[in-house]
């Protein structure tokens, strides 16, 4: 079974702090993703990475950065946390597309971040 793990289930940080959210997958997947989930808005893509050191902005990258130094690990960084970044953060991974056929994504359990 694919396993995607996230470093924390719950996190409380203060405004202005630098926050690191870590994600690790054990299936040698090329693609990794960071989403935030808010009630009524579904999942919104923050960043994704299709290879080590490669990244692409998603729909809502402002206020976030990412790092992928190793294939299995994808980190989300909040440079200066703000209260509007309070949310559920979900990490996912997937194999690369075969031609133009996409594969499903495998999700971690999520990190509920509260910024006070």
């Amino acid at each position: 079974d694919v396993k995607v793990t996230q470093s924390s289930r719950y996190l409380v940080k203060r405004t202005g702090e630098k926050v690191f959210l870590e994600c690790v997958q054990d299936m040698d997947h090329e693609n990794m993703f960071w989403y935030r989930q808010d009630p009524g808005l579904g999942l919104r893509l923050i960043y994704f990475s299709y290879d080590v050191k490669m990244k692409e902005k998603g729909d809502i990258p402002e206020g976030y950065s990412v790092s992928r130094e190793k294939k299995e690990r994808f980190s989300l960084i909040l440079e200066s946390a703000s209260t509007n970044q309070t949310s559920m953060y979900l990490c996912a991974s997937s194999p690369p597309p075969q031609g133009t056929v996409s594969y499903e994504q495998y999700f971690g359990p999520g990190t509920r971040l509260t910024v006070t």
Partner: protein, 117 residues
Amino acid sequence: AQSVTQLDSQVPVFEEAPVELRCNYSSSVSVYLFWYVQYPNQGLQLLLKYLSGSTLVKGINGFEAEFNKSQTSFHLRKPSVHISDTAEYFCAVSEGAARSSASKIIFGSGTRLSIRP
């Protein structure tokens, strides 16, 4: 640009009754469609997917979905629900295109299914 609309934010159903969760998408090219389920305090888990072939797709836990290209819909159905089906359900779409866009999936806003005993 592709998008996904889940028409119902909440669906209450009695136990053992049938249920249909609606999903419509918009896309100008071939699409790949998914339904995910999220149980309380967990990540998302794949229920079923449509990549090609038969338009009726069967998934886990007795769920199935039908791809209707003319109506651009991918509704999820179960003939008889159980208390354990209480969860949030997300419809998602991915377009067949260049590498980076083919890897991305667009999610709907979710439908919360609540089962009454």
